[in-house]
């Protein structure tokens, strides 16, 4: 470690020899010292040894000393300090390989390190703007993590998956175990099937009940049913399509007294008050044919528990309506306060 002003003055031979050796030693040690060498000239490079184990190589421009790199004696590495340094040919005019990182001493590739959570950026075409795609590490990592890319491309629609050790490969979507929708049911864990996005953002969702005593698996039918069939279970979760053997197509409960009032109904558009104790029940949706069964009652307040009954007008039975008459237990047509008419098919 030596410095010298590199000026040999007129002097005696011993002094000259000493001064010359000092100058040569300064050159040998790259003007090592803790401050700029005395008499330094613009363009001189010197080594600032303020940090004895990691000195800084500096360039003197005639006024200031510009730090070029820090030389780490322990790790035997060089850290170039000015991040704005550009290397002509690396990113502009080169047509072949522009950068290869190789440790020639060990004949193996070395790592490129982007420190302090910085990103590797891929710019779009300059003519299109200055946006980029960046890749970067998480801000915090508990251990080193290296992803190794696949050695070959996948096929259309495949996705990248990991083997759990950082080795990535392309694979098709498949499930060796049942697909699970993970989440809190209250928060809406469900399978959602969205409508055409051109029409909006609504969806059909399938979700489990909020509370289940045990696992429940429903197995869908292997084939479609016919029109009008319904899904039924075999009691073990196996579903199938089946026809409905019979069902109540029409029912109505009304008060046939006064101005006539309908209490509740199914598939009834209206009641026609025709005459004393005679009413027509008009169906909202027609029944497939008129071979249906009719039942009903005509409550009789006058005679207490002696319930009345209804009879159909056989000439009126149609797929769109039916006329009924209410009879009391004396066999008289009367206005019943509690008429029930039910049509089964």
């Amino acid at each position: 470690m030596a410095q010298n002003d590199l000026v040999i003055a007129n002097q005696s031979f011993p002094s000259f020899r000493s001064d010359l050796n000092s100058a040569l030693q300064a050159i040998q040690t790259t003007h090592s010292g803790t401050s700029l060498p005395t008499g330094a000239l613009a363009g001189q490079i010197w080594l600032d040894t303020t940090n004895a184990t990691s000195p800084t190589l500096k360039f003197y421009d005639g006024t200031d000393s510009i730090s070029l790199a820090t030389i780490n004696y322990t790790a035997n590495t060089v850290d170039w300090l000015d991040s704005s340094v550009t290397i002509t040919g690396l990113s502009t005019t080169a047509t072949g390989t522009v950068l290869t990182l190789t440790d020639t001493a060990h004949t193996t590739s070395v790592n490129m390190i982007l420190g302090n959570n910085t990103a590797l950026r891929f710019n779009e075409l300059t003519a299109n703007g200055s946006n980029y795609i960046g890749l970067k590490a998480p801000a915090s990592l508990s251990a080193d993590l290296t992803f190794t890319l696949p050695s070959t491309d996948g096929t259309s629609g495949q996705f990248l998956k990991t083997d759990g050790s950082g080795n990535l490969s392309f694979a098709s979507l498949s499930f060796a175990t049942p697909l699970a929708v993970v989440g809190d049911n209250v928060a809406g864990a469900s399978i959602r099937l969205p409508e055409d996005t051109d029409n909006g953002s609504n969806y059909v969702a399938i979700k489990a009940p909020d509370n289940l005593a045990s696992n429940l698996t429903l197995t869908l039918p292997s084939a479609d049913g016919t029109s009008g069939q319904v899904l039924q279970t075999n009691g073990s979760g196996v579903l199938s399509f089946a026809g409905v053997s019979s069902e109540t197509k029409v029912w109505v409960n009304f008060d046939g007294t006064g101005t006539v009032a309908i209490r509740q109904s199914k598939n009834v558009s209206s009641i026609t008050d025709i005459a004393t104790g005679r009413y027509r029940v008009n169906f909202t949706t027609s029944i497939s044919d008129s071979s249906y069964a009719l039942s009903g009652t005509a409550g009789d307040a006058t005679y207490g528990t002696n319930a009345g009954y209804i009879t159909p007008d056989h000439n009126s039975i149609s797929t769109t309506s039916i006329e009924v008459a209410c009879w009391n237990y004396l066999g008289q047509v009367f206005d019943s306060p509690l008429v029930s008419v039910i049509v089964h098919r």
């Binding site: 101005t259 009834v268 026609t272 008050d273 005459a275």
Partner: protein
């Protein structure tokens, strides 16, 4: 509440009482078109215009 009234061929009077379920999907005019016999004039009236005393129900007449 509304009612639909019309005269039968024997000059008796029929009164149509729409259900609530039907009124949720149809207007009373649509119900009249569906449930009044074809080509039969009808009239939509308020229920208050219908007598509540049915003693002589079969003698009611439809006055146009």
């Amino acid at each position: 509440m509304k009612r639909i009234i019309y005269k039968n061929l024997d000059n008796s009077v029929s009164i149509i009482i729409p259900t609530d379920e039907a009124l949720q999907s149809m207007t009373i005019e649509q119900i009249a078109l569906k449930d009044v016999p074809a080509n039969t004039p009808y009239k939509i009236v308020d229920v208050s215009e219908i007598p509540s005393d049915r003693t002589f129900r079969n003698a009611w007449e439809y006055v146009e």
